[in-house]
Symmetry: C2
Subunit: 242 residues, 2 copies
Amino acid sequence: MATPETTTQLPHDVHSEHHLTSSAMLQDVVIGLSDGLTVPFALAAGLSGAVSSSGLVITAGLAEIVAGSIAMGLGGYLAGRTEVEHYASELDREHREVKEVPDKERAEVDELLADMGLSEATRRQAVAELTADPEQWVKFMMKYELGLEEPDPRQAPKSAFTISAAYAVGGLIPLSAYFFTDTPRQGLLYSAIITLVCLFVFGYFKSRMTGQPPVAGAVKMAVVGALAAAAAFGIARLVGGA
Amino acid sequence: MATPETTTQLPHDVHSEHHLTSSAMLQDVVIGLSDGLTVPFALAAGLSGAVSSSGLVITAGLAEIVAGSIAMGLGGYLAGRTEVEHYASELDREHREVKEVPDKERAEVDELLADMGLSEATRRQAVAELTADPEQWVKFMMKYELGLEEPDPRQAPKSAFTISAAYAVGGLIPLSAYFFTDTPRQGLLYSAIITLVCLFVFGYFKSRMTGQPPVAGAVKMAVVGALAAAAAFGIARLVGGA
């Protein structure tokens, strides 16, 4: 389950827009891996407390990985498509408003500039310049009134694929331990060791990437995984034992 | 698994900022429900193709719901906290830069205004006004250079709780069918009916909320759920049957 983060809507430094393609992909990998390492791990751990067959843990784990990666990938793809359509419809609306109610739109530009802190004299001049060319005027409204950047229509399918694949890869890591062990309990032991190490390493690099303290980030990531697994283990034990 | 959407970073109309609190909550409910209705449904459907005990489907389903809602909630909480820290550290940095390298920062303001389409004469005047008060200058840099809005520190725990709860509620809907049926196959039938109806209704209102065509949105939502469930069913059948 993705933490509330996103590829296409992360605030980004306007100076680093040319880095966007590669970092968008990296962010998608991070989104997919975060969830892929956590949820299938916790589900498998939970079932290990309730069933005696490793095969069952593997079956459920693979079903979860497939379900999760389709839900994330396809859901992400549709959300991306919606964003593209939303941008296009807002763009149409702004073009129409600039043509049909220019005085109202001009007042909105003035209001935005006042909000930035410009004096009335400067605003009068700035409004005249910004509204001289309708294309530039609409571009200004989209970006500064609505806070919308033009989404790249090729981004949605790419993101969907990357997130899905990262989720599947992340999910297979904790599950792999059950392939090579005889009982779910043994599987759980190795799965927990492998996964917590991966979450730690992953949290470290994820935090470094976003400029956060890396060791704290590594610990947080591992703690989320461990808590989710412990809770799933507890509930499955309770229900499965009843 | 959340689609790449987010509460705190959605582009929003500056005119509707006062609606933010209630709509942030609604968005969190949407994020939690989208995933909660989809993934536990698909997992349970998958297991229904591979096991003969409804109890096992329920155990795995509950473990998934617990794992998923903790991963989403706690993950979201930590992401929100990181955002608050990130904002604070960027704010410090801008304050320092405005004091230590004011000429470089002034050039950045000028560049942003040039990008908006202002003439050199207007820019000269505007830069002088925007950089007259250091507080306002820093606020301008945060918002227009870095694209950062000040996050509400109380939002992270609220969002975490709402997303978790919505995920759990969403997940219990498809799972509830297995409580009242004797075999996983019967459970799957009722679970699919209930869940697809819920996904359809939910997709309808979600799309209306975001101004998209509601029927198309309803169909998309139901299709994602159905595909995820069918794929999970297929893989569990394949593995569980081996």
